[in-house]
């Protein structure tokens, strides 16, 4: 399976949110989409998910334009975890996970034995089977994140898109979640995540795509992309790039010095 993003652009309110971004991915891979606030990460994610039109460019799965796919066909191949993690009603966890089977079910038909089997399996995989019947509003942030990932996996997608999944989680759950996403990628999927934590990105992603003001700034393995020069140019910070027990760490230290012309603005 191959995902091609070709020259996607999107303008909003006279501003170019995305400007001719192109890249290709093949599974299995855990791809991190990084960049400062307003770089266009979420917009790019929404484009790949089919939630917005890619301007003159296109997003293709195995050569087929995703805009030409029916909603359910695309939903069987691409799952999306929104930054917005609220669930409107106090649903039972298992019911939430079952929602992921929607694109595979016939309209108004009850879930098939296969649907039940897949839901039970992903709940086992994510260790949330014990709270199958608990209400989602009674779970902690980390548990809830797992339930929502299980929902996306129940879609049995080739591509899993997660918009800032580690946001608002404590360090323990951030690491557990990244481990989980890496494992999902190893099981043969393409996982794309947007994130702000550079150490987590460097540690867990196979590849980083760096966006800056709507443009693709760098694309490659973490150790090649997260250079001091890029961190200064894109994030405008100086960071300590360390290695601790073989684990790469990127620790932001201070703002990068700017030239006087820029400071005046």
């Amino acid at each position: 399976m191959r995902l091609d993003v070709e020259r996607v652009s999107l303008g909003r309110g006279g501003r170019q949110v995305l400007d001719g971004v192109s890249f290709s991915c093949e599974r299995p891979a855990l791809v991190g989409l990084i960049g400062p606030n307003g770089a266009g990460k979420t917009t790019l994610m929404r484009l790949v998910a089919g939630l917005a039109r890619p301007g003159p460019g296109r997003v293709a799965l195995d050569g087929k334009d995703t805009a030409d796919m029916a909603g359910k066909e695309r939903a069987r191949r691409i799952a999306y975890l929104s930054q917005e993690r609220s669930v409107s009603w106090p649903l039972a966890c298992r019911d939430v996970v079952m929602l992921g089977r929607h694109p595979h079910r016939r309209p108004l038909a009850p879930p098939s034995p296969q649907d039940h089997e897949i839901v039970d399996r992903v709940m086992d995989e994510l260790r949330i089977a014990p709270f199958a019947h608990r209400r989602i509003d009674t779970l902690s942030g980390g548990e809830k994140a797992r339930v929502l990932i299980a929902r996306a996996l129940a879609q049995a997608p080739d591509v899993l898109l997660a918009d800032e999944p580690t946001d608002a989680l404590d360090p323990e759950h951030q690491i557990a979640l990244m481990e989980r996403l890496a494992q999902i990628a190893r099981s043969g999927r393409l996982v794309m995540v947007t994130m702000h934590d550079l150490s987590l990105a460097a540690r867990w992603c196979d590849r980083l795509i760096v966006l800056d003001r709507g443009r693709l700034k760098a694309d490659g393995p973490p150790d090649e992309t997260l250079t001091p020069q890029l961190l200064s140019e894109v994030y405008r910070i100086e960071a300590a790039t360390l290695s601790w027990e073989g684990v790469p760490l990127v620790v932001p230290v201070r703002l990068a010095p700017r030239d006087d012309a820029e400071r005046a603005v």
Partner: protein
């Protein structure tokens, strides 16, 4: 929730509706014995008891069940669509828009020349109201915006109805207009059933079809779309279904408020909150509630013509206030 647990909710509700339906047939000033009453439902002839049963009590019971069902159902659908527990045909302005449509049909004399003008205009009013709420609330669809949009529409329709009342040519027309604002099932005939029931059934069908989409919507609009759910189609089904069902209900019974607010709220915990399971349950619950209220007004004050809409509003408003208080506590 297992299918068995779901059945444990549906079966008692169905039994309750059946019992209340029979109960509704047995209550009335004529004082007919149970056996005679039920026998008269099926027999022919011009016996006064047969007439009372077939032409007065049966249409009243059918309308109470059907109108209650579609009001409960549309409340559950609107709450699921707007992801807002305060949504309800009455609250979002559909009921008042439908009754204004009905008033306009009477006032203009259109209903006298064309029997279908009344339900059609009520439905048009209902349709415009749902459309306007969607347009006014826009993408945000948060509690406050939706309620404010509903308030705006209700106020507008109330003012226009008052205007029609103000300008009404004779006291008779004024009395009839006031009737639409209160809501009642008294003195309804089989003609009313024939007028409203087809639209109510079509509306209920459209509303029930939104179930799976509403389930997906509980994860937010973006995620719902990536699950392959067509939001435009869902909104259209809900809008047309509410317009058809609530419009037709209001056309024959006037404004009966708060059924759509109270019923889904009471039943939600019993079905595990999933909209697709809540919809049929709310239809049954709505039927049970309106049948109960309609029996109640005949038992409590048989000699005074207590209006059904007045009773549901008196019961519903405290409940609405309680919900508002709870929502405020959640925000703070």
């Amino acid at each position: 929730m297992t299918p068995r647990a779901t059945a444990l909710v549906y079966l008692p509700l169905m039994l309750l509706v059946a019992l209340l339906f029979v109960g509704s047939l047995l209550v009335g000033p004529a004082g007919i014995g149970i056996a005679r009453a039920l026998e008269a439902l099926w027999s022919g002839g011009a016996d006064p008891i047969v007439l009372v049963m077939q032409e007065i009590r049966l249409p009243r019971a059918i309308l109470a069940a059907a109108i209650g069902a579609v009001l409960g159902l549309s409340g559950a659908v609107l709450q699921g669509l707007l992801r807002n527990p305060l949504a309800e045909p009455g609250v979002v302005g559909v009921t008042s828009a439908a009754s204004f449509g009905a008033v306009l049909a009477i006032y203009s004399g259109l209903s006298a020349s064309l029997p279908f003008a009344l339900p059609l205009m009520a439905m048009t009013g209902a349709f415009l109201a749902v459309f306007l709420v969607n347009a006014l609330a826009g993408r945000s669809q948060d509690t406050l915006t939706v309620i404010l949009a509903g308030v705006a529409i209700t106020t507008l329709c109330g003012a226009l109805t008052s205007l029609a009342l103000n300008l009404s040519p004779n006291p008779f027309a004024a009395a009839e207009i006031v009737f639409w604002m209160m809501g009642s099932l008294a003195d309804r005939s089989m003609d009313h059933v024939r007028l409203a029931l087809p639209f109510i059934l079509v509306g209920a069908g459209l509303l029930l079809a939104t179930g799976p989409a509403l389930d997906g919507l509980s994860l937010g609009e973006d995620v719902a779309r990536t699950l392959g759910i067509g939001l435009t189609r869902t909104r259209l089904l809900a809008t047309l279904g509410t317009a058809c069902g609530v419009g037709a209900a209001t056309a024959v019974a006037g404004a009966i408020g708060f059924v759509g607010l109270v019923v889904p709220h009471l039943l939600r915990p019993l079905v595990g909150s999933l909209p697709s399971r809540l919809l049929p349950a709310s239809a049954l619950g709505g039927a049970a509630l309106v049948l109960t209220a309609d029996i109640g007004i005949r038992v409590v004050m048989p000699e005074r013509d207590l209006k059904l809409g007045v009773v549901t509003a008196l019961l519903g408003v405290p409940f609405f206030l309680w919900l508002v208080l709870r929502a405020r506590r959640e925000i703070s």
